[in-house]
Symmetry: D3
Subunit: 66 residues, 6 copies
């Protein structure tokens, strides 16, 4: 009964891609750890690039610099 939380920047991931990610992560928990898929929960959170920082800079700033 694992719980997985995936945070990514909000940059246009489609519903199809997100569904694929949820399926893939669930499969991994089944194949690697033998978990029950029926109680495996995966939650994706998409974060504005103004609100995500790495190396002390926001992703918005990093994207602008190219």
């Amino acid at each position: 009964m694992p719980y997985v939380n995936i945070k990514i920047t909000k940059e246009g991931a489609t519903s199809e891609k997100k569904a694929q990610l949820i399926q893939g992560v669930t499969d991994l928990l089944v194949s690697v750890l033998g978990k029950n898929p029926q109680t495996t929960v995966v939650v994706i959170e998409e974060i504005d690039t103004d609100n995500w920082g790495i190396g002390g800079r926001t992703v918005s700033e990093l994207r602008k610099k190219g």
Copy 2:
């Protein structure tokens, strides 16, 4: 001084219901664990059904199948 994070799918919970949930969870922490309500924080996050997966499927897909 507990911190509680509740994640639910975004499917129309009203402000009244959410206020009731916050009050109820705070009361529980007081009655069960003797916590101080004044520093008990409860944060509710509502997640798009495309971004919530269980059993390897998104809730959007599960709702469609009925």
Copy 3:
């Protein structure tokens, strides 16, 4: 299918109290929001008082001051 994460300071909550809290929170999600208890997950994390701060001080310091 809600997911609830409760963080408290590690100060001796018994298994019985934690079970009671899990039951109580699950019941609340059923009664207030009509959620399915079978897919409601509650995870309690107990945090060392050295690692919990409020008002800029650790709980370890606050407990010492009485």
Copy 4:
């Protein structure tokens, strides 16, 4: 390679303020714990005042009471 998650109420923090917070927290992890800034991630989440509770009340209610 620390990961920092900051949750605040959604009450108009500007991009500039958020960038300043990300820079400040990253600097602290470098100066206090000697962490590598290049792999230090800071994520800010802004929560609706209806969804944040303290003392059993939502921030929306508390703001109304003034």
Copy 5:
């Protein structure tokens, strides 16, 4: 630069299994969403079965019932 948090019950996952899970999740984020693996962070948290509840019962209770 995704951040993934995986919570599982503490029931003896080996270092090898956990390394395999970290590699697998990172690969998925690269193949599905085109993310940069170098800044993809995966954190696994293992939770005592007394502290994990599903269906209103702790996993400790559920395991006892067999």
Copy 6:
């Protein structure tokens, strides 16, 4: 009333360093965003190096390679 969660690898941060980090982060939230320190909560979680992955490798592996 912000809530801050800091995850770092468990590699010997002292109580003093952690107290300094809690104080520093709280001060930042006051100076940058004008938050009330009395309801600012900071929680530090220290994660085993086997359970932290970056670039698809665990920190345990990365440390061994030097």
